[in-house]
């Protein structure tokens, strides 16, 4: 049965991609296609007094310049916010094109459509906008101060939502606590920076009244939903289909107003229109994440066991609220992690600023939650004079406590209940793999050579496989070919391979003989998207269920055709055939291997024109399943990192990186390994390199890869990955999500290691990322204060 599930088979995606035969959005050339460019605000906040498009329109090769006023009435409404929540006080969402106000530098306010992109960009530069600059908010804490400017002129304050997470008796926990420690942390924003910038081709065909949108999105059905609302058309009149996609990591799942403007342009001009974002636009106008301030205090007993944790989180949502309160909620719910936390209270404030909106970036709030908890654990260890691993060990939830109710509600509306996992074993294994016990000696040796090395640990528990569902249709075509259709697209996660592996086992075929088609709203009616490390759990389980149903249908039809009981049939080598079962006399019956091809069964299954179907049979070898997980399944991991810090230059070099991860059963270990190592690279960026800099007015200052540094081959260490496999009881495959774990867990461990390397200076790190400049500053401050205290 399990020939393919669990095997590190090579990817079906690769041959085309390795030969330059991938097809990404910008590789699509349609007859009559025009190209778009956007006019973007140079101000973080401004009123639009007037837009003069006459010079732009007059340029040869320009077909249209559209602003708010040129849009049909229905497209003049703000985009709907798809994640309502009672804690939201005010909602601000972008317009397809802004009406009279721009709220971040880079907000697009007019679209130019021309023969080619060169002309479109020339024309965009000729659009004259009369702006009235307005006061703006850059830092979210400053925006909460009395008298602060408003980030949106129509807002009554910069607070968009307030909520709390609470479990246990927090007052009592602190009242009786022998030790209470406080910390303020600032986690800075970065971005996804997928290598292929955003882009799409919108193709309105007036003859068939069909809008086809070729767009690299993580959530084709979400865009489809918004478009049929805006266009007030039937669902079959909009088809969102995803080409190859050059990375996603979260922000590619959002419905951007530029997409809608490009669709509007195609409809108005009755021509295909392409827009490909350039990298500067990607820095300005693709959603980012992670700006959060946390003020926390932790109460512990004499043995450093946690009694309670409480505090306040201020979450910067940027100029709009596309994801409601999802991100701070996930961050807050991730804080408890693998630790017994008897009482917890977090007050969350969602604050608006004049920066590009915030939506999930790989980890989606979880990395912040983990950094916060792990920083507090390190703080407790330092204050109590205990080993950091030992403090963690004392507080870990034990496997016999599973399933473990944390006592708070997750953003999926369900209580946070960890389904499975062995956290102490995970940490112990990681410590061993990193030779944690031998570190003291390594440090001593290093110090004798004048080198500063440090080691850091972090643990995380990660909600994965979020609902509500992601469906799959499995069909055996009448030519015998097996096709699997899933709603969401792949941006490198290898769906074409892993879902084929799952299906192939049911049909007894080679996984290369199963075609997987994802991210096309014409092939499956419902879908939510690739996010939250959910596709293996949701779509994977749906593929499993649907394939099992079709396999059973094949046996049922074949049993009738062959006049053999179903129980004696098997699917093998692309055929349904009689199994090797000894007959009643105990000897083979000479009918083993007798069978039918899948084509023969598929042809029988559809019936014959003009004839009645077999009673009780359903037409076609096909089944659609929507596996709806009742709640999230929780993956976990431990990272141990060893670093060396050059105290003169602040340069951090990672010497050792150990990951022990538990994502349940592995569909394809090679692919899982790749997901984890890739996630670790993102963590390296978030911990040490990636800083999206804005000035005091919200003007972005790091808008290229020279100013904003992504991790390079020379920055990312070799990562030593091993797995625990605690199957999830919550889905038929026993899988948990894995796409984000490397990022979620890694940042905290790196920061912890850097702090440890700097322990001779008594430095606490309270921020991410921690750049070489900042390290040198902190060392200097520490030296000065040591000097003063002498």
């Amino acid at each position: 049965m399990n020939a393919w599930f669990g095997a590190s088979v090579q990817r079906k995606e690769d041959p085309a991609l390795l030969c330059g035969k991938g097809r990404y959005a910008d590789d699509i050339h349609l007859p009559g296609m025009l190209q778009a460019a956007f006019v973007r605000s140079p101000f973080p906040h401004a009123r639009i007094r007037n837009i003069d498009v006459s010079a732009a329109k007059a340029l040869a090769g320009v077909h249209a310049v559209l602003t708010y006023r040129d849009l049909p009435e229905r497209l003049q409404e703000p985009i709907e916010m798809l994640q309502p929540n009672p804690s939201i006080l005010q909602v601000f969402m972008p317009h397809v094109l802004p009406k009279d106000e721009v709220c971040y530098a880079g907000e697009a306010l007019a679209i130019v459509v021309a023969e080619n992109r060169y002309i479109a960009e020339d024309a965009a530069a000729l659009v004259e906008v009369d702006y009235e600059p307005l006061p703006s908010v850059s830092d979210c804490l400053k925006g909460l101060e009395p008298g602060a400017p408003l980030a949106q002129a129509r807002a009554n304050s910069n607070i968009l939502a307030k909520m709390s997470l609470q479990s246990g008796d927090i007052e009592r926990a602190f009242r009786n606590a022998p030790h209470v420690y406080r910390e303020r942390l600032h986690l800075h924003r970065g971005g996804a920076f997928f290598m292929e910038c955003r882009g799409l081709v919108a193709d309105w065909n007036p003859v068939s009244a069909l809008l086809t949108v070729h767009v690299g999105t993580q959530s084709p059905h979400r865009l489809h939903r918004v478009l049929i609302d805006l266009l007030q058309c039937h669902d079959s009149q909009v088809r969102v289909v995803t080409p190859d996609i050059g990375g996603g990591f979260g922000p590619r799942g959002q419905v951007y107003h530029e997409y809608l403007a490009v669709c509007a342009a195609s409809i108005l001009l009755e021509r295909p229109v392409k827009w490909i974002e350039d990298r500067r636009e990607n820095f300005l106008a693709t959603n980012q994440e992670r700006d959060q301030y946390w003020d926390m205090e932790i109460a512990v007993d004499e043995e450093a066991r946690i009694l309670g944790l409480r505090g306040r989180l201020v979450h910067d949502t940027g100029a709009y609220l596309p994801k409601g309160v999802v991100l701070p909620w996930i961050a807050g719910a991730t804080v408890p992690g693998p630790y017994v936390l008897p009482a917890y209270k977090l007050d969350i404030v969602v604050a608006m600023t004049n920066k590009i909106s915030v939506s999930p970036v790989r980890g989606a709030g979880r990395p912040q939650g983990v950094v916060v908890m792990e920083r507090m654990m390190d703080l407790v260890a330092a204050k109590r004079g205990l080993d950091r691993a030992e403090v963690r060990r004392r507080n870990l939830i034990r496997p016999e406590q599973m399933p473990y109710a944390v006592g708070i509600t997750f953003r999926d509306g369900r209580p946070v209940v960890y389904d499975s996992g062995d956290y102490p074993a995970c940490q112990a294994r990681a410590l061993q793999a990193a030779d944690y016990a031998g570190f003291a000696e390594r440090r001593e040796r290093a110090r004798r050579d004048g080198r500063y090395i440090g080691i850091g640990i972090s643990n995380s528990v990660e909600a994965t496989g979020l609902g509500p569902y992601e469906g799959a249709t499995v069909r055996v075509n009448t030519n015998g070919k097996i096709a699997v259709y899933v709603g969401a697209s792949s941006q490198g996660q290898s769906h074409k391979t892993t879902f084929a592996q799952i299906a192939a086992d049911h049909f007894g075929v080679d996984y290369r003989d199963v075609v997987v088609i994802g991210g096309d709203t014409a092939t499956i009616s419902q879908g939510h998207g690739t996010f939250g490390a959910r596709m293996a759990v949701t779509a994977g389980s749906s593929v499993h269920v649907a394939a099992a149903q079709v396999a059973s249908q094949i046996k049922s039809i074949a049993a009738e055709m062959l006049e053999v009981p179903e129980t004696e049939l098997e699917l093998r080598n692309g055929r349904v055939q009689v199994k090797q079962v000894p007959g009643t006399s105990g000897v083979p019956r000479n009918i083993e291997g007798v069978g039918l091809s899948l084509r023969e069964v598929a042809v029988r299954s559809i019936g014959m024109s003009g004839f009645a179907m077999r009673p009780g049979s359903k037409p076609g070898l096909e089944s659609t399943a929507y596996f709806t997980p009742d709640k999230s399944t929780y993956a976990n991991g431990t990272h141990v990192v060893e670093v060396e810090v050059d105290v003169e230059t602040g340069q951090v070099r990672i010497l050792r990186f150990v990951v022990v991860h538990d994502c349940g059963r592995l569909i394809n270990p090679m692919i899982v390994h790749g997901q984890i190592v890739g996630g670790v690279a993102h963590a390296v960026g978030n911990a040490l390199l990636e800083r999206m800099v804005y000035d005091a007015d919200g003007q972005p200052l790091s808008t290229n890869f020279g100013e904003y540094m992504l991790p390079l081959a020379s920055d990312v260490p070799h990562v030593n990955v091993s797995h625990l496999e605690t199957p999830s009881p919550l889905n038929p495959l026993g899988v948990k999500g894995v796409g984000e774990g490397g990022t979620i867990t890694g940042i905290a461990a790196i920061i912890s290691a850097v702090e440890d390397a700097l322990s001779p200076f008594g430095i606490r790190i309270r921020e991410t990322p921690i750049s070489p400049q900042r390290i040198v500053e902190l060392i200097k401050e520490a030296r000065q204060s040591a000097h003063k205290s002498v």
Partner: protein, 169 residues
């Protein structure tokens, strides 16, 4: 009126003659004029390396170069790597075996950078490969598998002796 020039180039051994605007980048020329879309544009400011092609054997950023500057040159792109339509060369095979690509967008640039590197360096070290790749950004893989694939490919090329010609056009 835009300034236009006639250029002729050899791309993966095939000759092309086209009239182009002088401001057209080499990347856009390859991608949109010749429809060789395997060369990818990731940043348009010469940092990410996705658009790397070989010009007379040396790697260049095709986003930072104008098509007219390539007049009379021989260009190699990712489309020219495979020895036959249904085959992969040793470097491509190593990428597949090691799972050295996920979304695949940076891959053409990685392959072209490594092609140049492995032609010149038959005995690379891990550090050497990482240094050679430090001008190419990958957001998916964490580089580990790419480095391993490059070392595998170098070993396979050494082993097969004459097969080194596969990379040496």
């Amino acid at each position: 009126m835009p300034d236009r020039r006639r250029i002729s180039v050899l791309v993966n051994g095939a000759g092309y003659e086209r009239e182009v605007e002088t401001r057209l980048t080499l990347a856009d020329f390859l991608r949109h004029d010749l429809r060789l879309t395997g060369t990818h544009v990731g940043c348009e400011h010469g940092v990410c390396g996705a658009c790397t092609v070989l010009l007379d054997g040396l790697s260049v950023r095709s986003c930072l170069m104008l098509a007219v500057q390539a007049d009379g040159c021989s260009i190699e792109t990712v489309e020219g790597l495979a020895p036959a339509p249904d085959q992969l060369n040793l470097l491509q095979q190593a990428f597949m075996k090691r799972h050295a690509l996920q979304c695949g967008f940076c891959t053409p640039g990685m392959l072209m950078t490594l092609t140049e590197y492995l032609r010149a360096e038959p005995n690379p070290t891990e550090e050497g490969v990482r240094e050679a790749l430090s001008g190419n950004i990958c957001r998916c893989t964490g580089y580990q598998a790419i480095v391993a694939a490059a070392l595998d490919a170098a070993a396979a090329l050494r082993e097969q002796g004459g097969a080194r010609e596969e990379l040496a056009k």
